[in-house]
């Protein structure tokens, strides 16, 4: 009970700030008489969103699916690259510039091309999500592995540990806290990446839903979809803390 109370006190400032912002918005829209096509009141966003909940939900599921698959691919790619780089100085030198270069790709220009190449299905979206999220994950892991310092490596070597044993007993567990930091950055990008990929072209999903509603001047439904996106992102973000507490119980953040 006290734990719940303490947690409540921790999120209270954020809630207060949101309440003030939403209140000011509601007041401004009413006082200035802004047309809802330009800026709907928050109340209207919520009521219209609720009235269209079936459509919203039908478009949320594909977005969740794309996010999950894309992020899983990104995690796999990030781990494979990071482990490879950790074991091979040659690969480190070969891959690091490519990793950085991949982040300079203007996704906004590449995404439509991906649709031309791969169609409206899952693949182009998975590629976009992986492209925007594998980098923080790979870099977080590579730096995490590198946090093992020389004395620890020497201790393991003195025990007769092979490079693989050093990795397994020290470098891998030592990297997990930085991995979870990277995971949090990645997962929030993943949802945005999915929306973006869908916005460019999809048969269903929150991104294409926003695009269609914008074209018919349903600003309120665009914002309702934005709200759903925010809820998903925050939920996934908080979920990483729960997973971290199970996987890395020794981490001081716990």
């Amino acid at each position: 009970m006290t734990a719940a109370l303490a947690r409540g006190r921790r999120v209270l400032p954020a809630l207060v700030l949101v309440a003030i912002g939403v209140g000011a918005w509601q007041w401004y829209v009413a006082a200035a008489g802004v047309r809802p096509q330009v800026l709907p009141s928050p109340l209207r966003v919520v009521t219209e969103g609720w009235a269209n909940r079936a459509a919203l939900w039908a478009n949320t599921l594909p977005t969740l699916e794309v996010t999950a698959i894309g992020f899983a691919v990104s995690l796999a790619v990030g781990w494979v690259l990071a482990v490879a780089v950790d074991f091979s100085p040659w690969l480190r030198r070969a891959l690091t510039p490519l990793l950085v270069a991949s982040q300079t790709l203007p996704i906004i220009a590449i995404a439509p091309l991906l649709i031309i190449w791969f169609g409206f299905g899952l693949l182009p979206k998975v590629v976009v999500i992986a492209l925007v999220t594998f980098f923080p994950i790979a870099v977080g892991l590579i730096e995490g592995f590198g946090r093992t310092e020389r004395p620890a490596t020497n201790l393991l070597r003195s025990m007769g540990a092979s490079r693989w044993a050093q990795f397994r007993y020290v470098r891998l567990p030592g990297a997990l806290p930085s991995f979870f930091t990277a995971l949090r950055i990645g997962i929030t990008y993943a949802v945005t990446g999915a929306i973006f990929a869908e916005y460019v072209g999809a048969t269903a999903g929150l991104g294409i839903f926003m695009n269609l509603q914008k074209n018919s001047f349903r600003t309120d439904l665009v914002l309702a979809a934005v709200l759903v996106t925010a809820v998903i992102s925050v939920t996934l973000y908080l979920l990483t803390y729960a997973v971290e507490r199970v996987v890395v119980p020794w981490s001081s953040r716990g």
């Binding site: 020497n154 003195s158 025990m159 007769g160």
Partner: protein
């Protein structure tokens, strides 16, 4: 020479233009406790890395039980300056790490390490995390992890350097007690002359870099040594003898 546990012959090591070891020679008898003291930066840690097989020497040999052990890690159990207890392992699993790495099954490794928790004053802390231990307990756990590997020679690199003065005296008295009981062969690096005289059978004094053994002081105090001995005249004489050798040629 064959009866010596450890023989170090003419070790030389440079890093680029920087000569660190300049023909280091000494030997250690079975069950003997030898302390190495020298000015800071004289290359003591490099010497340990070379003896422990972590760095190859440019010249010279390391013999254990009469056999060439240059570049081999398996005759040595190494305790670095930092305790290096890993936060993701319980205290018991930390102490069993060396055995696990050596391929001992986890259960057997835990059993062997666990058997030493009582004499090491760690009983009841098997399942604790390292962060829950005091500084002295952490060093004892690190030493337990070192000795349980059952290697021929223990290499201790300033094991108590990070402790406060009172805890250090406790730890020295405790180490003197357990060492007597187990008969380990120990090579200790320290910059604490009192610690060297209190614990060692022989103190080797090293030159500044590039280093070699400048001289030795045989500590003829009987075992088991008690903290009260520090106040005896013979102890003070030995301390002075070491100090004289350390400061020789430094104008002080």
């Amino acid at each position: 020479m064959a009866e010596q546990k450890l023989v170090v012959e003419g070790l030389r090591k440079s890093f680029g233009d920087l000569a660190v070891l300049d023909g280091v020679e000494f030997d250690v008898a079975p069950g003997e406790f030898v302390a190495l003291v020298g000015p800071s930066g004289c290359g003591k840690s490099t010497l340990f890395d070379v003896v422990a097989g972590l760095e190859p020497p440019d010249a010279g040999r390391v013999l254990v039980d009469g056999e060439d052990a240059t570049g081999r890690v398996d005759p040595f159990a190494y305790m670095p300056q930092q305790d290096l207890l890993f936060p993701w392992r319980t205290v018991l699993d930390n102490t069993a790490l060396g055995l696990e790495v050596a391929g001992v099954a986890r259960k057997a490794a835990r059993q062997r390490a666990g058997a030493l928790f009582e004499p090491f004053g760690l009983a009841g802390f098997e399942r604790s995390r390292p962060a829950e231990l005091s500084g002295g307990m952490r060093q004892r756990a690190a030493l337990l992890r070192t000795v349980v590997q059952d290697r021929a020679v223990l290499l201790l690199d300033e094991p108590f350097g990070a402790l406060d003065a009172l805890t250090r005296i406790d730890m020295q008295a405790w180490l003197e007690g357990v060492r007597e009981r187990y008969g380990w062969t120990v090579l200790l690096i320290t910059h604490d002359i009192r610690e060297a005289v209190f614990l060692a059978d022989r103190v080797l004094v090293l030159d500044p870099r590039p280093t070699s053994v400048r001289g030795e002081v045989v500590v003829d105090l009987p075992h088991p040594r008690k903290v009260a001995m520090i106040a005896e005249p013979r102890f003070a004489e030995l301390e002075a003898a070491v100090l004289t050798q350390v400061s020789r040629g430094r104008g002080g």
